[in-house]
């Protein structure tokens, strides 16, 4: 990474700022080459593959299907697989991966003692947060891409058909299907980046990456519990996890967008809060 030159204050004033592109490139290389990131992608890849296998095994039996109704529409329907994979990874697996990345981004550097170097390097604190956020966003995007692309591939491979049926019983073409999966992927990315933004804020508050992971997962579990209590329905619109089941709405025809839009607005609010808190904390952090 950038080495800090210990120069006189006058010299520092004149030092040109490190170009943002180079910083981003360095951060991305650093994040994406990390073995645990690659391991996480590997675990995520198991989700669509496992679902595909399960689906092909269920196809043998003619008995009526027991289990979540989404799985029923999986049968002979390749395009539902990427969505089911995203739906399954969303509650725990994906938040864990993005929280881990966000924890490494600031708290991890802090615990290794490398954050000090970044803080005295010739980068503004806000730009540092932007660089870190882009790194986390890239990991999140790749994680979603793994689910979506492997999901489509596995879906088509296991069902042997590129056509797909919406939940409303209409047939959609392969390209329409790809479009719907794309919408779902973008939405999942936004939701997961909201988790990441809050995790980044936690990450800037502590020196221990594990604390970030624990608090983040604890929060999401509490949100899920609160979301299940009907008497607290007034609180539900504030909980990030509230609309997470609505990913399946993309394969209704016409597409049912109310819940998707509302949860996207909610995710944006969390992103703004999380990143603002991170910037505020980093700006006041002593190097």
């Amino acid at each position: 990474m950038t080495t800090a030159s210990i120069a006189s204050p006058q010299l520092l004033e004149r030092t040109p700022r490190a170009p943002l592109g180079r910083l981003l490139g360095a951060e991305l290389r650093w994040v994406l080459r990390r073995p645990r990131t690659l391991a996480a992608f590997g675990v995520l890849a198991l989700v669509p593959l496992g679902l595909g296998l399960l689906m092909s095994m269920m196809d043998f039996g003619a008995a009526p299907l027991q289990g979540p109704p989404v799985l029923a529409s999986l049968l002979g329907n390749g395009m539902v697989l990427p969505l089911a994979a995203m739906g399954m990874a969303m509650p725990l697996l994906m938040p864990m991966i993005v929280s881990m990345t966000a924890a490494d981004a600031i708290a991890g550097e802090s615990s290794h003692g490398t954050l000090r170097g970044l803080l005295i390097a010739p980068i503004g604190r806000t730009r540092l947060v932007v660089v870190k956020a882009v790194g986390v966003a890239a990991v999140t995007a790749l994680a979603v891409a793994v689910l979506a692309l492997l999901g489509i591939t596995a879906g088509v491979a296991f069902t042997g058909t590129t056509e797909f049926t919406s939940l409303s019983g209409t047939s959609l073409t392969f390209m329409e299907g790809i479009g719907r999966v794309g919408v779902a992927a973008a939405w999942v990315w936004l939701q997961m980046f909201a988790v990441a933004a809050v995790a980044l804020a936690l990450s800037s508050l502590t020196d221990h990456p594990l604390v970030v992971l624990a608090v983040m997962m604890g929060t999401l579990i509490v949100f899920a519990v609160l979301g299940g209590i009907g008497d607290l329905s007034w609180l539900h619109p504030v909980l990030l996890t509230t609309g997470w089941m609505s990913v399946i709405d993309v394969i209704r025809d016409p597409m049912e967008s109310t819940a998707l839009v509302e949860s996207s607005v909610r995710a944006l609010c969390y992103i703004v809060i999380g990143l603002s808190a991170t910037i505020a904390r980093m700006a006041t952090k002593d190097s």
Binding site: A72, V238, M245, C269, I273
Partner: protein, 373 residues
């Protein structure tokens, strides 16, 4: 450092903006201000509703919510506490209804010649082709003249109720009149009033709200939450069974069922007489208006379905066991029994199998049960 302060201030504003955004999301969407509409009297309003021959072309969301205060009985259908459906109509009789659950969807499409239904969780399509020429085209003669029909309906309602147009409301973004039916003061009922919002322009009912005594929250509410009146995508009114779905044709079956019932009905009906509910000790209707109660005697215990441990569905349950579980025990000169009270109605079942129910307080039921032998 000024720069640091500015950064922190900007971040604080950002966090505040996010928090405000979340608060706005959590705010209930308040009812719009009541629109100002030209006054209309209830007769005119009812008449204009009845003169609408077809549902206009529209697309919208219908939601129903109840707060009946029913005891929590397992296996009770979820639809009782709340439902939501998307509906579309093209204005010529074709329609589509879709009810969504997490991960599945049920749709019903009427494309003008065939009624289709599809359930994505079972992948079963049922189709019912009907012959338009055989369908009863004419409405009963009384309904052909909306003015006469409106008068007839209001004449039936008037003796027991007050009917009025009580202000206006904004329902699903449309201006509406509120037609209010309230029981006359002499009626002994748990219900306070029924409010029907009628679209001011199209004269179709948009919302029905039932209010009970002692509560300002509606006990039941059913109506549009989103409504777009106008031409809809014609693709919505067609249906092709998807690949891999099982298609069941119910055309024949349904017709037989329909015909056998119609024949029976016609046989029992004397010309010019309106059909009446049977009146005997097994089932009778007592009183009229808002405090109508139904009373009667359940079939003998041994004819009732026994509780089958293998079948835990509610339909297999003996009603007596269910009532014992959720009712309160009451007794009086009329016998011993169990009383189930909700916000909208009361039910009474005695140990010897007599029952009475109605939208009335329990005293009325006790009077009614005394008339059952």
């Amino acid at each position: 450092m000024d720069r640091k302060k500015a950064t922190v201030a900007a971040a604080a504003v950002g966090a505040l903006a996010g928090a405000v955004g979340l608060t706005v999301l959590a705010m209930p969407s308040g009812a719009g201000a009541a629109p100002v509409l030209p006054p209309v009297n209830p007769e005119q309003l009812v008449q204009s509703v009845l003169s609408q021959k077809e549902i206009p072309a529209l697309g919208g969301t219908v939601e129903g919510k109840t707060n009946l205060g029913i005891p929590a009985i397992p296996n009770l259908p979820q639809e009782l506490s709340g439902m939501s459906a998307k509906v579309w109509s093209d204005g010529t009789g074709k329609s589509r209804v879709s009810t969504s659950k997490t991960g599945s969807e049920k749709i019903a499409v009427n494309d003008g010649t065939t009624a289709w239904s599809y359930d994505s969780s079972t992948k079963v399509v049922t189709k019912h082709t009907y012959d338009k020429s055989k369908a009863p085209k004419e409405r009963p003669s009384e309904l052909n003249d909306p003015a006469a029909a409106a008068k007839q309906i209001i004449d039936v309602i008037r003796p027991n109720s007050s009917i009025s147009v009580d202000g206006t409301a904004s329902v699903a973004g449309r201006d509406a009149y509120e037609l209010v039916l309230a029981p006359a003061p002499t009626e002994r009922t748990l219900l306070r009033e029924v409010r029907i919002a009628v679209d001011a322009e199209k004269r179709i009912p948009l919302r029905v709200v039932v209010l009970a005594n002692g509560s300002s929250d509606p006990v039941a509410q059913f109506g549009f939450t989103k409504l777009d009146i106008g031409a809809q995508d014609p693709k919505l009114f067609t249906f092709t069974p998807p690949a891999g779905a099982k298609v069941e044709d119910s055309t024949g079956k349904f017709k037989d069922f329909e015909n056998s019932h119609r024949e029976e009905f016609e046989k029992n009906r004397k010309p010019g007489e309106t059909p009446k509910l049977p009146d005997n000790d097994l089932f009778k209707v007592i009183g009229e208006g808002w405090d109508t109660t139904v009373a009667g005697r359940l079939p003998k215990q041994d004819q009732l379905p026994k509780n089958d441990p293998k079948n835990d569905k509610a339909q297999g349950q003996n009603p007596m066991d269910l009532v014992k579980q959720f009712g309160t025990k009451v007794e009086g000169p009329w016998g011993k029994g169990y009383l189930i009270t909700t916000k909208v109605g009361t039910g009474l079942l005695t140990e010897d199998g007599r029952f009475a129910a109605g939208a009335v307080p329990s005293q009325v039921l006790i009077e009614a049960i005394g008339t059952v032998k």
